[in-house]
């Protein structure tokens, strides 16, 4: 499963980002009456669970839907703050859906620049001569693969552990970048990418790869 694709220009600025298959990690729960045995906090524009645990819902989850209607930020579907809805016995029964919450655009810009620096530092602290920057980061939940072109543009993808063949995927995205972004006469180099053909073709490639890996995992079982 491919979660996201990011493209960074040679100065470290984010010029493209796209999320796929987001919100794989969601939990829904309906409460019949007040109070809910969880402590909420409205922080950084989202309503987060601060304390308490019910099933898979733990601190760190944020409210992404109220009564099955998606919300963003701290306001509910009818313009009442979610925290007020939770504290008001009249809103019950209340259904809340929890998930990670989208990473904001500003945060993505910052994370991309952070990665750009970390990429360079990895090459600097290397115990071996002529090391490249970070090619792969592994964590418990995902794998990040990065490809840097000779011109300094970095392509990185965030995938899950089951995803194979990420190098070909990165080269394919690079190919799409050269075909639909660089050859676009209205595109200014190192600027954010706003090319419809690039978006469409990228989606097609991602879907192709997801289908191929779904097929191969189905034939294996």
């Amino acid at each position: 499963m491919i979660y996201s694709v990011y493209i960074i220009n040679k100065a470290g600025g984010l010029i493209y980002d796209e999320d796929f298959s987001l919100n794989k990690y969601t939990e829904e729960h309906t409460w019949q009456e007040h109070p809910i045995p969880l402590v909420f906090t409205a922080d950084t524009g989202r309503v987060l669970v601060k304390f308490g645990e019910i099933g898979a819902i733990k601190p760190g989850y944020s409210v992404i839907a109220v009564n099955k209607q998606p919300v963003s930020g701290t306001m509910g579907p009818v313009d009442i703050p979610i925290i007020d809805m939770i504290n008001d016995p009249k809103s019950y029964p209340l259904t809340l859906t929890f998930g990670k919450g989208k990473v904001g655009a500003n945060e993505k810009l910052m994370l991309a620049s952070m990665f750009h620096s970390l990429f360079a530092i990895a090459s600097k602290i290397s115990p071996v001569d002529e090391s490249s920057g970070i090619k792969q980061i592994q964590t418990e939940e995902f794998v990040l693969n990065c490809f840097q072109t000779i011109t300094g543009v970095k392509f990185f993808v965030i995938v899950d552990h089951k995803q194979t063949a990420t190098e070909p995927l990165l080269y394919r995205i690079y190919e799409l970048y050269t075909d639909f972004v660089l050859k676009n006469p209205f595109y200014l180099i190192d600027m954010p990418i706003r090319c419809e053909l690039f978006d469409q073709n990228l989606k097609k490639v991602i879907e192709q790869i997801e289908r191929a890996s779904a097929y191969s995992s189905a034939t294996l079982t």
């Binding site: 979660y3 996201s4 987001l22 794989k24 990690y25 733990k58 760190g60 989850y61 990670k100 990473v103 945060e107 994370l111 952070m114 990665f115 620096s117 970390l118 530092i121 990895a122 090459s123 600097k124 602290i125 290397s126 115990p127 071996v128 001569d129 002529e130 090391s131 490249s132 920057g133 970070i134 090619k135 792969q136 980061i137 592994q138 964590t139 418990e140 939940e141 995902f142 990040l144 965030i158």
Partner: protein, 107 residues
């Protein structure tokens, strides 16, 4: 191939540095290098926990074309950081670092 090993306390001070096969000398003093490595790990942990599609996540290792850096962090915040060649598997490294923590006394 194991290149070097750092052990950091929760405050960021380097408790131990071991070197075996390092072929490239650092371009800075030992102390500066420890600070750079710790700072980089701190930023990497923060980066990972914010970009992850899951709810919470922990950094384990990264690879470049020539070496692999793996980290094992204990619940108390002691960090074991090791640079190895690419031939080492994550599982073998994580077992090695955990047994280091179990058997070696850290003051």
């Amino acid at each position: 191939m194991i290149y070097n090993l750092y052990i950091f306390n929760p405050m960021g001070q380097c408790l131990y540095y071991g070197e075996w096969e390092r072929s490239k000398a650092a371009a800075m003093s030992r102390d500066e290098e420890f600070k750079l490595v710790y700072g980089m790990l701190y930023s990497l942990k923060s980066f990972v926990s914010r970009i992850t599609p899951a709810i919470s996540d922990n950094f384990q290792c990264y690879e470049t074309n020539k070496y692999k850096l793996s980290m094992y962090e204990t619940p108390s915040g002691v960090k074991f950081v090791i640079n190895t060649g690419l031939d080492w598997s994550s599982q073998a490294i994580s077992e090695m670092l955990q047994s280091l923590y179990k058997e070696v006394r850290v003051y």
